[in-house]
Every structure is written in structure tokens, then in C-alpha cells.
Symmetry: C2
């Protein structure tokens, strides 16, 4: 254990939150590789291509009702006092080849989803007819295409079902299946490697709750986050673990050893891997040091859970936003319950609890004084961000919140 | 294909949405079995037990800063003009056994996260001291526990980390790991079996987009939804497939053959399996018939995608809400952009698009006339529900929306 550096009062000034995002935006970041997967398995994966329908849905004019397919011209002048009689010439079921109706004053019994028989252009609902033997009686005129879903009415050939760089939805999967698209190119899951450092984590004095928090929080349908290594407070061990993880992961988070007091192990190790993009960000909680090596971000964060989550989250969210067209977290608007005070100069993130109250969503900041606070992440389902040029937010205002958990709606 | 039943005008009146939910609430539904899994793998699984911390976090009084651990009594009367000199007697690092400081006017170099040495009750930040050889100079008094995280300050022994029947969060996982809890009892994933019926699905005239929609939409960390079978329009085939699926699945959705026009195949088949709870619900889109057999719900819905999704969703959401303490979908409040008109007597669900506009979230209903519309599910990220006793909602009102997709926030 080295002696405390009193020089730490003079470390490089932190960069502002905005300026590190701007730095990050200019980077040439490597996207994950692309793979082809079955459409049915593509839920919430990131599309790598635009998917265009090559067919019309419906593929043919289709009955939208159970009833009788007719030629609408035959219904002219039909009225309560002057019904038109049509003779039933056949049956058209769904999934069956369209039959042909020839001649005048005829009709075809038809079922929802069935192709319109040739010679028919409208469907009379069964409820709107009266049956008499093999005939039906019509009591009103009908216009062409009544109760008919026309070819391409739902999806036209050429319609863009899925845009590249978006999360694929269940509705898009349904549309791809409907249009006979079987495979889709998606980005491989983003691999996040978490390297936890610290003698106390290795010897078990402190459990690796930060590693569990990050791997659980980030893992979803399009991200695979897992522990890539545990390291003692030892520069060469951290350096070697990071170097080897760079082969396997798209993003690396190194937790612990990032504050100057922890002997700066992670920072010193990363400086041996490459040139840091920045070494401190004016955000609270959490000091961050980010390195960009071989087109991949390496983020060194605090070993304390909340600080590690927030400082990695702002970078990883930006990574996703820059590479793709969405964000990692969802948001909501909520009414702030109590004033929040802060100092100018730092962008602050406040764990908070959003709930359904009078006039909509409310949000109550949690008293999380220490950035190591775990109970705060249990109770908090959202974060409030306040820009560095502000002194706080007044109670009663509607603000945007960043969701990191579920809101209880009922 | 049987002849259209003109008697269909006289079918049983539909039950109201509220009354079928009330019927459903009285059922004795079987919960999935319980399994023990590693805490690290429990993200968004449903907890089957309350998890109580057996330890304090921190487990000891802990330094929250890098600096010097002192006995606060030694700082009495320290001031700018009368500094107190303390001699450095040792070093206390995180993960190391607490050392003991004996005697007066001494101090211990200490690092963030380290256990407080015996004989010390406060930590002076390194920035607030001046070093002179092996001594430090203190210029102000400090109170006991300054910069010390006290034992149990974050999580006390006895604190409930996770409640049963809730979705497990990343913060709870971090807390369980921190408190040395390695395994947790969770409900096995809810198994939803989807049985798609229809000659046109079997012969490929119509692709099974409804099956793909339902299996993609429902599958998540705690639900496994998959196709359990495809059936021709044949009563005994449907009956046998449902009977055999009842062994393997917690919930069964039968799509197609549920409207009277489709010859009522699914309804007829299910009536041979057990007594239906109800055979029609006054919701639009979608007619539903539900059977409750062997403590498991069997839901017969339309073969058309939107109707199948909405009518199964209202039942499955209620299933989850009744068995556990949360809901399947998230919600939000949004300002309605255009009037919605509807008829009294039906509870209606409108696919809509929620977006960030002036003064917060807005929602625009989509023009989805036919319940078979797939493009509507592509564009829609939410649903609007309107009760059966209302004629619609006026534009400009803030309403609750049910999220079935992502909102684009930026």
C-alpha cells in the first residue's frame, strides 16, 4: 500500500459531462459482427438491415366477414320492399383456391379470410340476409368491396417492415412471418466484460455486489454482460486481464481502483494499455476514466455499486445511441415531490422512486448519501439527472426521469 | 365446411369485460413450480420467497474516504491558529483486518472501504490535513463518525431485500450478493403454449404470423411462450392437442376457430375438454372463449393477430396479477391527440403510437379498422382502453396508456 498522495488536490480538472459525451461521439467505434438468425428468434435483437416486404398482405382480395360473396351490381335497387334473390352456387373457405362465379343473381357462401371468388366484389354479412332454401334475400344495395380486405391493404409489397439499427418488435416479427421472410441479419449481442479489481473482492472480505449489479442490469435480449475477470490491486494483473478481454468483448468495464485513493491501480494499468480519452468526469456519483483502445471503449469506474452503475451507464447508453438508433433506458415524465439542491459544476444523478399519484406520475428522490449505498438501488426505480449549470430543481415541476426499474401501476 | 348458421344472430350475449375479470379472479389457479437458482441468474425472475438479510452492510464501521483515521477526541480545540499534530502509526487498507491504535494524538492512514481501526471513530479527508514528515496537522475539530459509514448503515440485518411474488431487480441481486445470499427460490418460467388452428395455416396459404406474434410478445425473463401445436380445422385434432398441452404448459392459447363463422371448431373442441368459463367477451377487437381446466386457463382467441394479442393479453395479464403482484405490461400517461369515438356496450382497445411532444408524452390512435391488421402492430407501441359505458374520449385529455413497445425518447 503506497503512501497517500497529497498531490491529489492538484489532479487534472474533471471534464464536463457534455464534453466527454462530445469526445465520445467523435470516436470510430467498432460495431458487433452480424449474424443471420431465424425471424422467430429475433425479438428485441438489433436489426442490421432494412427488411422490405416482397409481397402484398393480404395477397388477394379477402372476405372480412362470414356471409355471401356477391357481384355488387346484382344488389342494385334492392330494398326492404323489393328484395333481390340470389342463388347459392358454392362455398368458398379460407385456405382454398378461389372458385369462379358465373352469371347473374348468384352468390357464394364465404367465410372470414377466404379469397374472393372470381366474379364477386363484395360480401354481405350473414346477419344482413335472409335465407330461403338455396337462395338468399338481400334487402339493401351494397357498394363494391363491402366487407372485402383488398390486396395489399395491410402491407404493400415494398413496405419497410424493419429498419436497420432498431430493436426488433413482436409486431415486426409477425409481419416478417406473414410476408414469408424466414431469416434476418442482426448484430451479435453486445458483449460487455466486467473486470472487478480489489484485494478485498478477491479475498472475499467484500462480496462482488458491483459485478452482480452490472452484469444483471446490462444483460438483456441484445446485450450479454458477464464477469470477465477478478484482479488483485496489481497493475500487471489488471493490465493483462484487460488486454485479454479486449479480444472477446465489445465494451469493458473495470470496477475499483479508479479513485486516486485506491492507489490508482486501474488508471495506471489502463495507461499501459493505451491513451486515456479522459480521466475524470464531473458527474456525481462516480468518477470515470475512459480509454478507447482498438475501437473499443474501456471504462474504469468506482468499485461502489451506485457509482459504478451510473458512470458506466452514461457511457454505455451513449455507445448504443451512437452505434444504433435507440437508448438503453426508457424514460417517463413525472412530477417532482421535493426540492433537490446541488452544487454548480457537477452533473448529478439522483436515485429516485417513481410512483402513480394524483395527476399522474410522481417522483421522490431517495436519500442516498453515499455512492456505495446498495439499499438505494433496491428502492430506486429511476434516476433524475440535473445539468452542471443548475443549482437544483424545485418541487412541483414536471421532469424527465430515466427508468432503471419497474413502476408499480396498480 | 358446414353451412353458415343463421342462428348465430341469437348466440349467448357476450359478458362484459369486468364480469369476465371477476369470474377469473375467483378461480383457483395453479402456480408454476418453484426452483432454486443462483442469485446472479435471477434477474427479472419471479421470487417465490421473502429474502431477508442476515448480516449488516457495512459489516463494520468503514471509512468513506481516503485520509487519516483518528480519535475525534484528539481533535478538540484544533483550529487554524492552533493545529493539532497527530503521528501516523500505521496503514489500514480495505479488505484487511482492523488494526488497533493505542494512545493519544495518533492516527492511521486509511483508504476508502477499509475497516475503522480500533481506537478510531472518525476519518479526516486527506485534503483537509497537512503532512509534515510522519505527522499530520489538523486545523479543525471533527465530530465522531465523520466520514465513517457505520455498521448496518446501508442494509441492516433483518432487512427485507426481496419480497415474494415480485420481479427480481438488479439492485436486489446486488444486495443479495453483498449479504452473502447465493441461491434464491423463484417460480419456474410460466409456460405459455400456443396452438394455432386452421387448414390455411397448415397448408401454408396463410403464414402463422399470429403464432409468431404471441410467442415473441410473451417471451421474456419469466415467461417462455412457444408454439405447442398446429391443428387442422378438426375437432378431435384440436381436442387432443389441447389435452396433451395441458400436461406441459401453465396457460394455453388456441388461435383461430373461435368466431362462430369459422365453424366454431375450437369452441366445440374445448367444450369436449371441459366446461367453458365464458364463451364471449364484449371487447373489441377480439372475441374470446375461456376454459379453465385442471387449474389452468385455456384461452380460445381469434386467428387474426391484433385480436389474438389483445384478447389473450387481458386474460394473461390478469393471470399474472392474480398469482403475483405485478402486471405484464408497463403503462404511461399521455395526452390524447385526436378524439376517439366508440359504441357503448363494448370495452375497446385501440392500437396507438405514443411519442414525446410538447408538454410531455402524446398518443395518437392508429387507423386500424380490421382486427387482422398487421401494419398496426408495427406502428403501434401502446394501447388505449376505453370502458364499455363510455362513448369515447376527447382529444387533449391526459389518459393512461398500456405500453406494448418502446417509446422513442430522443
Amino acid at each position: 500500500m503506497s503512501t497517500l498522495k497529497h498531490i491529489m488536490k492538484n489532479f487534472d480538472p474533471f471534464l464536463s459531462y457534455d464534453s466527454i459525451l462530445n469526445l465520445f461521439d467523435k470516436l470510430d467505434i467498432k460495431k458487433p459482427a452480424i449474424e443471420n438468425i431465424a425471424v422467430e428468434s429475433s425479438m428485441m435483437r438489433i436489426s442490421a438491415i432494412d427488411v422490405i416486404s416482397g409481397v402484398n398482405i393480404p395477397g388477394f382480395n379477402r372476405s372480412a366477414m362470414d356471409g355471401y360473396a356477391i357481384n355488387s351490381a346484382d344488389s342494385l335497387d334492392a330494398s326492404d320492399t323489393n328484395p333481390v334473390k340470389l342463388s347459392i352456387e358454392g362455398v368458398q373457405g379460407p385456405g382454398r383456391k378461389a372458385i369462379t362465379m358465373e352469371g347473374k343473381h348468384k352468390c357464394i357462401e364465404i367465410y372470414t379470410g377466404a379469397e374472393m371468388p372470381a366474379g364477386c366484389d363484395a360480401v354481405i354479412k350473414v346477419e344482413d340476409t335472409e335465407r330461403s332454401g338455396n337462395d338468399i334475400l338481400l334487402y339493401s344495395e351494397c357498394h363494391p368491396y363491402l366487407n372485402v380486405s383488398r390486396i395489399g391493404e395491410d402491407i404493400k409489397s415494398g413496405y419497410k417492415i424493419t429498419s436497420s439499427n432498431h430493436l426488433i418488435t413482436a409486431g415486426q416479427i409477425a409481419a416478417m412471418v406473414a410476408t414469408n421472410i424466414k431469416f434476418i441479419s442482426v448484430y451479435k449481442k453486445i458483449q460487455i466484460g466486467i473486470i472487478n479489481t480489489g484485494d478485498e473482492v478477491i479475498n472475499g472480505t467484500i462480496k462482488n455486489s458491483t459485478g452482480a449489479l452490472l452484469s444483471s442490469f446490462y444483460s438483456n435480449n441484445y446485450i450479454e454482460a458477464r464477469i470477465a475477470g477478478l484482479c488483485n490491486d496489481d497493475i500487471s494483473s489488471i493490465k493483462n486481464t484487460v488486454s485479454s478481454a479486449l479480444d472477446k468483448f465489445d465494451i469493458i468495464i473495470v470496477t475499483g481502483g479508479s479513485s486516486l485513493g485506491e492507489s490508482d491501480m486501474a488508471t495506471a494499468a489502463l495507461e499501459q494499455v493505451g491513451k486515456p480519452l479522459f480521466s475524470g468526469v464531473a458527474i456525481k456519483p462516480g468518477q470515470t476514466m475512459a480509454l478507447f483502445y482498438n475501437q473499443k471503449p474501456v471504462i474504469s469506474v468506482s468499485g461502489l455499486p451506485v457509482a459504478a452503475l451510473i458512470s458506466s451507464l452514461v457511457i454505455i447508453n451513449r455507445y448504443i445511441k451512437n452505434l444504433f438508433s435507440f437508448e438503453l433506458y426508457s424514460r417517463a415524465f413525472a412530477i417532482l415531490d421535493t426540492n433537490i439542491h446541488k452544487k454548480i459544476g457537477f452533473t448529478t444523478f439522483h436515485l429516485a422512486h417513481a410512483y402513480v399519484g394524483e395527476n399522474g406520475l410522481h417522483v421522490r428522490p431517495l436519500n442516498t448519501t453515499a455512492s456505495g449505498n446498495i439499499s438505494g438501488i433496491i428502492d430506486g426505480n429511476c434516476m433524475i439527472m440535473i445539468n452542471d449549470d443548475r443549482e437544483g430543481i424545485e418541487a412541483g415541476k414536471q421532469i424527465m426521469i430515466y427508468l432503471i426499474g419497474e413502476i408499480k401501476w396498480d
